[in-house]
Symmetry: C2
Subunit: 334 residues, 2 copies
Amino acid sequence: MKLQPTGLRELAVTLLERRNAPTESARLQADLLIEAELRGLPSHGLQRLPLILSRLDKGLADARARGSGIWRRQAFLSMDGERGLGPVVVLNAMRIMRSILGETGIAVAAIRNANHIGMLAYYAEAAARDGLIGIVMSTSEALVHPFGGTEAMLGTNPLAIGIPSGDRPFVLDLATSVVSMGKINNHALRDMPIPEGWAVDGEGRPTTDPHAAKAGAIAPFGGAKGYGLGLAIELLVAALAGSDFAPDVHGTLDDTHPANKGDLLVLIDPAGASGTLGPLAAYLDRLRLSRPVNPASPVTVPGDGARARRAATAEAGIDLPQPLYEHLMALEAA
Amino acid sequence: MKLQPTGLRELAVTLLERRNAPTESARLQADLLIEAELRGLPSHGLQRLPLILSRLDKGLADARARGSGIWRRQAFLSMDGERGLGPVVVLNAMRIMRSILGETGIAVAAIRNANHIGMLAYYAEAAARDGLIGIVMSTSEALVHPFGGTEAMLGTNPLAIGIPSGDRPFVLDLATSVVSMGKINNHALRDMPIPEGWAVDGEGRPTTDPHAAKAGAIAPFGGAKGYGLGLAIELLVAALAGSDFAPDVHGTLDDTHPANKGDLLVLIDPAGASGTLGPLAAYLDRLRLSRPVNPASPVTVPGDGARARRAATAEAGIDLPQPLYEHLMALEAA
């Protein structure tokens, strides 16, 4: 069923406010989920809301917490998320970082003890729209096997990079796995085989059975290189945030454990650069106009696809699965 | 023919000193080339030396320059390479950055007008051995096509990340292309077909002919994700260093143009972190001991392979192609 974003956002805000979220925090968490729906990323959309609410009910998340930061060094912020909602803590860290960015030109925030921060593009784009370069990474439960390995040892460790470029900022947001566990779950729900190369089963054998894959591990994207990048994110986050490594991480997919993964933000103020951002937009347009493989599918730049999907969905409404809608309605009536 | 690294290093030093390189700079440039040979990366080894010498002879590179830095912001160093040798300028930038790192915890240097900086792992590992996290990226001539495109619009845009971890630091060094142009040149020399998916020809058609590929473009690694990462590096470097975009870049493969690509360094002092590096080495060992695809090939961590190859080559000697050896001998006799 197609629903208007406004009504769904208000529903999410109401459910969060009932669990002691200050209005501003409730709006922020709700907005993140709606933005994911609008951009065609339902795995990071409203289907996450029941788990968030359950974690609030059980005290594993604290809707009032905003996280508290300590400047370990002048441009190095160490942030205790205090079990706060992920987006609330991240946006608070970004606010604190901006206070010194004019002076230092670059700053890093290492966050532990915050709940799931959701779609990373949200923060990278917020930075870019503020005229800043934003780099965001996050760790998670062990779902991905090393290149040449067969055991789930790494998180899906996403990376987002936002770079200002007029009204069409560059916004990259990628998981370092070849596919998300959400997509494998989706195949499992519909009993559809998954493509070869996506996953191994619990015994480490390649599989096209999505049910077997759920007990196994997902491949890193891009072979040894994607594995290296995912592992770099695992190490950077844990080393700087003091968070746990994937095999010991809990709390982003369950409502039984505190969230002990970590998140890392780097902000750079390009106003301090000798370069200017002007030629950047022109180069991106050259890319978009370069010869495509398929004349009907022009070359795109990270951010373009999400913007197009967002515009279409904002017009047509969010297509929410009936069971999820009913679940949310039941939560509202409770 | 197998040659001892010491003799080859001295040969390179002599050739560079004859072109006015101060001893320290000559040793640094020579060491970088020898280290690439030792790690099994001949494309970044001594075969680069004749071009470096020719660029020095023609005034496109200045062996005396070390680059001059301006602190645009407290932790943002803008570096004019002054046509210096790449490694000399990068190591000078790292030295300057370290002077404020204890205070700020993180610093960035954006470098333009430096010559080719060679194997990025060299710098990332140097940082890690100093107890620092080092992130290095670089741009280059247009060799790579966008995902969904067929024209060479991006550099091979390598990324290196070094993270301290006892005597076996994590050292990732990857080009964002599926393969290096050096490897395609190598296939062309031997008239061997290249695998499908590596490259397109000058008309944008997929090709397995290495000669046709040289006139075309290389694919990004890992599909849309690798393209996004390579493009992010292209934009970050150009935006912060004020260097040119790939289609306009010259000077790392020719001896006719100044080098107008850019390089970016980020250093982070993890001593400011709430995390500690201790658990990191233990986690990496868990990875190495995790179940491999092939029992005869244990899981490795970025840096392991290079260390193993380095040890073997240091023992057995560097296997230099006869024509390259004769070329270097002729240069010495000149």
